[in-house]
Assembly symmetry: C2
Homo-oligomer: 407 residues x 2
């Protein structure tokens, strides 16, 4: 297959942004666009037209796109709570699936996602762009080269002041508002958990076995709304369900721990709060530093930058030569290419349906634990035992478990 | 009372160090010393003699010191697992008690500590020196001045590479070795939890209600021992119970969360991993930075140093003028003075028996949670309801809930 015929479902800020990035790719035809809001559908059509592209099928009903036999693949950028349903329907229609990130709503829909992929043999990728971040890939490379020794403990987070974006959901139609009003748990775990999961060999010889989660009280949104949106009556004293800071501890089959923080409704600079710690060293995002036993000066952090260069991942070496493009520091482009080139090669995606499942499951498990006062919750084994013996991923440019050898 | 007659029980590294600091205080007479090892008793006696001090009663049996009618107060610097027993016996003998830090072994002994203090009316202070750290006191001052808004989330830790100290316990007789061999949980929570507890008004209108705790696998000590102590046969493959990193989430009655990390058997620079986060701002130890809503440049951390000066606690202003002395950056001296001046004034100590109880209880509760796979554990209310209405601490130099107004 040379060109990929792609349908894009969801034309909000994210879907529209990804469409504009994909528009520039010569080996992709955008043959369908969809959103529940007609103005967004219209914006997509106009944008493609102005770029001189053929008119796509445009609809508010995604089933119309799934019925098109010329669609090879579907990209889903809808609300969190609709990802699973649309992904399942897309696989049933015989389409490759790429879905934007976010947690699931129930374990049942996660099981259905996995079972549908098994039955239809259609791959299903979570577009977790942070897996292709420069730092994350260099760290993966370092883990594979045993720089940190045996991994023991990791941390990650989504620490991002989104008060304005969330509170203005009544204007910008952002799904976060509904989720923050009604749900309490780590509703957005994957920017940290998927890259860390790759370092921890999750689904290939290791797995998440349990988690416990606790949420703080909720104050940040109400304070911000009182100060900034005094005219939006129904939000003034709305009892938001989501705690300002949700902390989750995940335990792995081989005894590693992963501590996750969701922190999006208090004032703070952005961070993904990363930490990788093993028997030989530690890397920390907060101070952008590293310490390696017997290498770093005793008891002193070293700047990470020289190590980033030393352990630069081959994909990023190549990417820097080719020219970095697209949003989020270039990660989005790599993630899309990983998906699209998997479709072209008719092979599985580097973030596969089992990865999708286990990381999407973090959210309902976290909600359940919070609801039960921090009671530990067991992870289902979505692979039904396959994780014990799954072979390594093929080694190619976009591998996330093997290190590409640069062609 | 002018001079305090003090007995010091425990003459290991810490007890001996504190004794040498106290020796220089003109208003304290060291009238008794005790250790289970005779060589340590001898060292104490010799040291006092060489300093021209009167000979103390010297014994391997602490009950002999408690029987002395001239002893006003007892300082306990023994193994973690003996603090409670000795503190209880000391209060029963009518002595003021100061104990070095560390967690309890059971909730029952914590209850007995509290009940003994109630019955005997003898105060009992945990010598948590970090409460008197310069940064901690400035932060307490900032919290009281509402700089962070309503507190939502805090973090603390004991992140200290102690592999050599622990592993050489068979030589240096350090109690950590026994504890690490047999226990799994946050065995040393107080350097972070007590200062944070003061900011969170624990025992005065707030309390810890529950916690959940998970431990990583244990690898750090074994690797270090193989590399550095190849001749100590019995430790080569000893299955240490203590996980390398233990993470605990504590929930407060008013909905705040406190995340604690115990991390002492992997290579890393020292940190107490502090974080204070409220509706108006955040301070983080890892990058020594602060961010205040509407004050700091948007989305950018500011260095903490200028804020430290601006919000310097009155006690530290005074201390810098008087001259900082003693170990751990001067904190030890202030902590000892807080205790000794409480004895002289015959009033309660700024870290009181309820503080001692709740922070010592963190350890057995953490162990229980780890043993049960992260099952949440409820905190007893050691005040039996008094926390609802307890009056503010008196405002004096060493207050940890009120800000001293500098005389």
């Amino acid at each position: 297959m040379s060109n990929v015929n792609l349908a894009i479902i969801g034309q909000g800020g994210r879907g529209f942004g990804l469409m504009r990035l994909i528009m520039e790719m010569e080996d992709v035809n955008i043959v369908g666009v969809c959103d529940v809001y007609q103005d967004r559908v219209d914006r997509a059509v106009t944008t493609l037209k102005e770029a001189g592209k053929p008119a796509p099928v445009a609809t508010q009903n995604y089933h119309e796109l799934l019925a098109l036999s010329n669609v090879d693949a579907v990209l889903i950028a809808t609300s969190w709570q609709t990802h699973m349903r649309i992904a399942i329907d897309s696989m049933k229609a015989g389409k490759y699936v790429a879905s934007e990130v976010g947690g699931a709503c129930s374990l049942d829909e996660v099981w259905e996602l996995v079972q549908t992929s098994r039955e239809t043999k259609m791959p299903c990728m979570m577009l977790e762009n942070c897996c292709y971040g420069r730092e994350e890939l260099a760290l993966l490379n370092m883990v594979k080269q045993n720089v940190f020794g045996e991994l023991i403990h990791t941390r990650c987070g989504y620490e991002h002041d989104l008060r304005e974006e969330v509170a203005k959901g009544h204007i910008n139609r952002h799904y976060r508002l509904d989720n923050y009003m009604h749900r309490n748990g780590d509703v957005y775990p994957t920017h940290g958990s998927v890259p860390m999961g790759k370092m921890l060999n999750i689904n290939r010889g290791n797995r998440f076995v349990s988690l416990t989660s606790m949420a703080s009280k909720s104050r940040g949104l109400n304070e911000w709304i009182k100060d900034n949106l005094p005219d939006v009556d129904y939000l003034q004293n709305y009892p938001f369900a989501l705690g300002d800071v949700v902390t989750t501890i995940v335990k792995c089959a081989h005894g590693e721990t992963l501590v996750m923080t969701h922190d999006t409704t208090l004032p703070r600079p952005y961070s993904r709060g990363g930490l990788v710690q093993g028997t030989k060293g530690i890397w920390m995002e907060e101070n952008y530093s590293i310490y390696l036993d017997g290498i770093s000066p005793e008891h002193k952090w070293e700047p990470f930058a020289p190590y980033l260069e030393k352990y630069e991942h081959p994909l990023w070496k190549w990417y820097q030569q080719e020219g970095i493009r697209g949003g989020h520091g270039g990660m989005d482009y790599l993630t899309l290419r990983a998906f699209l080139e998997s479709v072209q090669a008719q092979c599985d995606t580097p973030i596969d349906v089992y990865d999708f499942a286990v990381h999407a499951a973090l959210t309902p498990l976290s909600e359940q634990s919070v609801a039960l006062g921090g009671m530990p919750q067991a992870f289902p084994d979505f692979t039904n035992g396959a994780w014990l013996v799954r072979p390594a991923e093929r080694k190619w440019k976009y591998s996330l478990t093997e290190i590409w050898d640069g062609e």
